[in-house]
Structure formats: structure tokens, C-alpha cells
Amino acid sequence: MSPAENLDAFREEYREWLSAHVPRDWGHLLYAGANEMIEFQRGWLRTLDAAGYAAIEWPAEYGGRGAGLAEQIVMYEENARSNAPALNIFSMSLIHAATTFLAHGTQAQKDWHLPRIRRGEEIWCQGFSEPEAGSDLASLRTRAVLHGDCYVLDGQKVWSSRANISNWCMVLARTNPMAPKHHGISFFVLDMRSPGIEVRPIRQLTGEQEFCEIFFDGVSVPVDNLVGQPDEGWRVAQTTLSAERGLAMVQYAHELRTQMEIFIGSLVDGSTEDSAIGDALLEGIGGYYSEIEILISLCESGLRQQADSDSVGRASSVVKLYYSELAQRFAEYTVAVAGLPAQLQQPVPNRLVRREGADWMLNYLRSWALTIAGGTNEIQRTMIGERMLGLPREPLPAGTP
């Protein structure tokens, strides 16, 4: 079979499997509690895993299929088509943590974590940002000091999504305060059940509590939990971040396509029999529809070149900037079209639910996380200017390390 035929066969196979396995009527979970939602998603992940679909891009030895990007995209498309449950609680595990382990992990780390991630036994969060290290992440102050065969961790992290329900965390900590700031940082994986950890959820402007603060007070981390070389954690973190801007971004882009379908669907349902949709509305829909398709193609072509190019870092800034601002503009548009009804308070649904509960105002409020998180868009613009276009750096104030 040709590659295209193989892909068609895979699509056929997966579509058939989904039609037999996607849980029916899970809309009631829209307002379910956290535990119920975790169990539901874990159940779905295990169903996928039993059929070999949990992590198709991983090597076969870890339960994957060594599948390429094309197959993963097929899965995103088919998931959306069949209204399959999203796995957002586990995406930090399946994408960010797994990508980091596969690139930099020791054999023991891979053997321990990857099967547990696949089975939904581990929920991961990321401890990168700090109160004084946001855009200037490399100035982070959380310290890890080696004592015998353990590092002792002290400091504070912030903006860690789902840290309150996670059992593992990827942590960046300073191990060499004398080195230049990018070179004294190490990358650890931390069992969140270790003594000395306190997690406090932060109430966001949407009313939700997804981001958390994490406090480390003399937390012991075994040396074996170091990922990559000591003091070279910055490089490891780039892998984690590239997963955020790579595969995860393809998924976000497909979710935006689903939102567009829901939006059009809501207009179709709400329209009168003779469908008095005007040219102005069609124009707006057509513009955003085009841009979402351009975004999807941009993400996919960017990923395709990831393997053979060192331009991923610079190109991913373009994707992040375009995605987040398109999502925000589209959200603004839907709120404007929806009018006053969109201004009414609604119960805040779990974000994984995809077709039900279109709340355009909530979507709009959430969009401000997109333009801030993962490196603010201002930082992205500076990176594009300096790394991609070769513009000169801004002179640093005297005395800056």
C-alpha cells in the first residue's frame, strides 16, 4: 500500500473503533466534580490504551506504534468528528512529559514513567514559572542543593496548571548560582507526594481554579530524578516547551476548528426557517474559517519540518503568536455576534466538553491565558525579531547578568 492508502486504512480502522467505543451521553459530565472527571478521562485513556491508541507516536517498546504526524492528525480529526472525550487532564503527561523523557530521560525513567503515563496512573504538571521569573524565566530562584544522593529543593512556583490534582511535576531549579543564568539550571521530575510540598490553587478571572502555586520547603529529590545533565536543564526544558508549541499546538488548532463548527451550528439552530443570515455574518465566518484552516496547515507544516530543522524554536514563536491571537479575535467575534445572551453568567463547564455548553464569553475570557501563557506574546515578538529576522538585541542595562 502507498503511504496515502495506509493513512486511509488507518483512518477507517480508527473511525470504526471510535464508533464502537466512544462513550454515549457523557454530556452530563459537563459540570462534574474534579474526581469524577479524572476517573472518566482515565477510563477513556485506558480504553484507548487497550486498543493501542493511547500514544501512537511513541516507539513500540513503550506501547506506541512509532506513528508519524500524519496518523496523529488523523486521530485528532476523527476524535473531533466522533465527539470523543478530550484528555486534557492527561495531555501534560502524554505530550509534555513523554516528549521530554523520550528525548532526555534515562532508561530507568522511561521504563518507569512511560507505561504509567499511558495507563493514566500519572498526572503531570509543570513547575517552571516563578513570581519573580515570568517572561525572564531563566532568572528563576528555586534552588536545589545536593546532599548525598538527594537534592534538596526550596522555592516557589506559580501558574502550574492542575498541580492540585497532579502526582508528578517537571521542575526547573537552580543548581549552580555562580554560572551564567541559562547554565546553572537543572531539570527534575518530582513526586508530588514528597514531604514539604504545598499546593494552593489560584482563582482565575474566569472563576476557575486551574493554575496553582507550589511551595517547596526542603523537599528531597533523589539524584535519579534528574533529567539530562546537572546545570543543563535549560536545554531539556526547551524540549518540553517545543512539545507545547508542536504537537499540543496541532491539537489546539483542531479544537479551534471544532469551536468554529459549534459556533456555526449555534447560528444554524438559532436561525429562522428562511435563514436570514446576512452577508456580513457570512463574511465574518468565512474570514475566521479560512484563518483556522491556515493555522492548522501552519502547525502541521511546521511540525513536519521539526525533524530536519533547527528552526523549530523560531518558527514555533510564529505559531504561538498566530494561534493565540486568532483564538482571541475569534472569541471576540463570537461574543459580539452572540450579543447580550452571551453576557449572562452560566455555570462554568469542564473545558474538555466539546460540543455542549458553548459559552462564548467564557471562551473569550480564557483566551487571555493564551496570549500570556507559554511566553507572553510580547516575548514571542522579540524572539521572532531577534532569532528569525536577525534584528539587534536591545542593550541590557549595565550590571545585568
Binding site: 468554529m260 463548527e261 456555526i264 451550528g265 444554524v268 436561525s271 428562511d274 435563514s275 436570514a276 443570515i277 446576512g278 452577508d279 455574518l281 457570512l282 463574511e283 465574518g284 465566518i285 468565512g286 474570514g287 474559517y289 479560512s290 484563518e291 484552516e293 491556515i294 493555522l295 496547515s297 501552519l298 507544516s301 511546521g302 519540518q305 528552526s311 523560531r314 518558527a315 510564529v318 503568536l321 498566530y322 510580547e378 514571542q380 515578538r381 522579540t382 521572532i384 525579531g385 531577534e386 528569525m388 529576522l389 536577525g390 534584528l391 539587534p392 538585541r393 536591545e394 542593550p395
Partner: protein
């Protein structure tokens, strides 16, 4: 400074692109363009001959008629390289519209009569159809026909904003009539055809008003009638839309390169202005426009070469709307970053700004094209609902 595409692989035509970029840079400098732009014809015949000699006009013409039988993707390379230097040439009207009409709807006799001449550069062509911003295509062409006993036609009316008609040897004209729309191909010198230049702000292109006073068209000069004519015009407009998208992408790449280069060398407050975030972020925004427009244009090109059965998103429209808007926004930002010097006649950036603005308006406005995509999206979600929107065919 060259800003290469990060996301779009163009390897299929790398060699053609390299040759085209070199030859066009040699023959079509912006300084030369400024002189040519002030002549009535608006293009240099010797450059046209040079382009014809390379075979670039004939890329899509089948080999039996003296061409190379390539796909639109090859043509797109030339369109981009011409757009990069805002070259004034009737390439789009002849190689995209004229050739397109003949390879899609021409009879063997019509193809034999015209395609070898077009391939050699001896014959130039254009499309006379409706290009108003309110609507494009047959319904608005401004031309009507009536049929004489025996099958010949009489065509009358005025079509405005016709590209390059003043230098065309043959006209493909779309007219409405009692027996449905009709497309014909006639020599521009046919009695009753009057062509006047319309003074465009963008001096690198020429638009004309074409008046037909009871022009006699022979039955064998008919290209298509009824549904076939509708499809032909729609196909030609898709080609024109993608062609303009290609021109726009390269133009946007060029204004970005000009602007980045200026930001690196122009100094104020004792340092290059590119060190300032305000300038750097303007450039980054332009880069995002360029990268996304490259993706959109390449999808437009792909859609023409692998014409699906009308099930997918109308990429030619999506690409036309997105790329021309991106070009105009990038060119505007380029003027801003250049500051005072960018507002002068001497600086080249205004050549691009004006070309970008014409590209937006040409062959259907971005609004019109977005609406077309919106109709597609809507009809996909609500196949039964009737849309109360203007007929565009």
C-alpha cells in the same frame, strides 16, 4: 536581506525559482520599473520577449502547442518572482487568464490558432468579465449578447477594470444573454471594440475600460455556453485569485526584507532602530503575516492543481482574501517603520503599498471572497437552508 519561507517547502520548483529570481533582478530593477510605469503601455516589450524566450508564459500550455505542460504551481513561481519586484508585465492576464481559458474550454481549432502564438510571446490575451468590488464574474460583466440566425452572436456593453486590455491581441469575454451565460474569444482589433486606459494609482499595472458596440462574434469563436461558461469563468476567477495571492506573498516578503534591513542600519538615539521593541515588534507582526500568507497561497496553488470536486474549502478565495490583506498590512507597516523617508516618492516602499491596495480590490474584494468561504462553511453546517445572498456565478 532575504527572508525565506519557514513553513512552506517549495522544493519542486527550486531551480525555476532561482533562474527566475536572477533574470528578473537583472532585467526588472525597481529603477527601471519607475521609468516603465510612466509610459502609456506600462510594460517593457523587450522584457516581455525575454520572458517569453525562457518559456515562462507557456508553462501550462500543452507541449503540442509549444508549451511545457506543467501545472499551475510552476506558473505560481513566476507570479511570485514578478511580484517580488513589483514588475509591470501583462503576465497574469495572458499566462493565467488567456492560457487558462484556452486550456480549459478551447476547441482544438481555437487552441491551435492562439496557444502557439501565446507561447512565443507574439499574442497577449486577457479576460473581460465583471471585476467590480461588489461582485465578480459573469453576472456583473456588463456585457450582453444576442444570437443571430445561423449561430453567430452580437455582443454589446461596457466592462470596466479589465487588466491589460490595451495591450492584448485577443479578448476572452463573458456575456449574459437569453440562453444563459456565454464566453467567447475574439481578436481585440475586431470592429466595434473600444479600449480605454483607466488611470490607476498603482502605476505598475494597467486597467482598462472595454466597450463593445454590437460586436459581431462568429459561432466558432464561442468558447463555452450555459453551465460550461459559468464553470469556465469561475475557474478563471479562481486562477486570478490565486495568482494575485502569489504576487501578494512575494511582495509582502520583499517589504519585510526591506524593512528589516532598514531597521538594522538606520540609527537613532545612538543605536539601530531595530533594537527598539516598538520597531522589532512591528517587524515580528509582518513576519507572522508573511509566514501565514505563504501557507495560504500554497494551499491556493494546490487547490488549483488538484481541483477537488467542490467539497473542500474554496482555497482560492481564502488565499486571495488573506494574502492580499496581509500584503496591504505589511506594506503599511513598512511605510510606518521607514518613517519620513517611507513617505517620499523616491523611496520604493510606496510602489508596494499601491500594488498591495490594488491587489486587494482586484478580482473580488477580500470581503467578497471571505463571504464566499462563509457560504461554503454555512452550507456545510446547514445544507438545507437557503442562503439569501447575491448570486456570484
Amino acid at each position: 536581506v532575504t527572508v525565506g519561507p519557514t513553513f512552506v517547502h517549495r522544493d519542486a520548483h527550486d531551480e525555476l525559482r532561482a533562474v527566475a529570481r536572477r533574470l528578473i533582478a537583472q532585467r526588472c530593477s525597481l529603477a527601471a520599473t519607475r521609468d516603465i510605469a510612466e509610459t502609456p503601455a506600462g510594460f517593457a516589450p523587450d522584457v516581455w520577449d525575454a520572458i517569453a524566450a525562457t518559456g515562462w508564459i507557456a508553462l501550462e500550455i500543452p507541449e503540442i502547442y509549444g508549451g511545457s505542460g506543467a501545472g499551475f504551481a510552476a506558473c505560481a513561481v513566476i507570479l511570485e518572482e514578478l511580484g517580488r519586484l513589483a514588475v509591470p508585465l501583462p503576465y497574469l492576464s495572458t499566462a493565467v487568464l488567456g492560457v487558462g481559458a484556452l486550456i480549459h474550454a478551447g476547441s482544438p481549432e481555437q487552441c491551435r490558432a492562439y496557444l502557439p502564438g501565446i507561447a512565443s510571446g507574439r499574442i497577449r490575451a486577457t479576460l473581460v468579465a465583471g471585476f467590480d468590488h461588489t461582485g465578480v464574474g459573469l453576472a456583473d460583466s456588463g456585457l450582453r449578447y444576442r444570437r443571430l440566425p445561423g449561430g453567430d452572436l452580437i455582443v454589446a456593453g461596457t466592462a470596466r477594470f479589465v487588466p491589460d486590455a490595451h495591450t492584448a491581441h485577443i479578448l476572452v469575454a463573458a456575456a449574459a444573454g437569453e440562453t444563459g451565460p456565454c464566453a467567447v474569444i475574439v481578436p481585440a482589433e475586431r470592429s466595434g471594440i473600444e479600449i480605454q486606459l483607466e488611470p490607476t494609482v498603482d502605476r505598475t499595472r494597467r486597467l482598462c475600460s472595454v466597450r463593445l458596440s454590437d460586436v459581431h462574434v462568429r459561432a466558432d469563436e464561442q468558447l463555452a455556453i450555459g453551465q460550461a461558461a459559468r464553470e469556465l469563468v469561475s475557474q478563471l476567477l479562481d486562477r486570478a485569485a490565486v495568482a494575485v495571492a502569489c504576487d501578494s506573498v512575494a511582495g509582502a516578503e520583499q517589504v519585510l526584507a526591506m524593512t528589516v534591513s532598514y531597521a538594522k542600519t538606520r540609527r537613532q538615539f545612538g543605536r539601530p532602530i531595530g533594537t527598539f521593541q516598538a520597531i522589532k515588534h512591528h517587524c515580528a507582526d509582518m513576519a507572522v503575516l508573511v509566514e501565514t500568507a505563504q501557507v495560504a497561497a500554497s494551499l491556493g496553488v494546490k487547490a488549483l492543481d488538484h481541483a477537488s470536486t467542490g467539497e473542500g474549502i474554496p482555497w482560492p478565495s481564502a488565499a486571495k482574501a488573506y494574502c492580499t490583506d496581509a500584503y496591504a498590512a505589511a506594506a503599511g507597516t513598512a511605510v510606518q517603520v521607514h518613517g519620513g523617508i517611507g513617505f517620499t516618492w523616491e523611496h520604493d516602499v510606496h510602489l508596494y503599498l499601491k500594488r498591495a491596495k490594488l491587489n486587494q480590490a482586484l478580482f473580488g474584494s477580500p470581503r467578497w471572497h471571505r463571504t464566499r468561504v462563509g457560504q461554503f462553511a454555512w452550507s456545510r453546517a446547514a445544507p438545507q437552508s437557503v442562503l439569501h445572498v447575491a448570486e456570484h456565478s
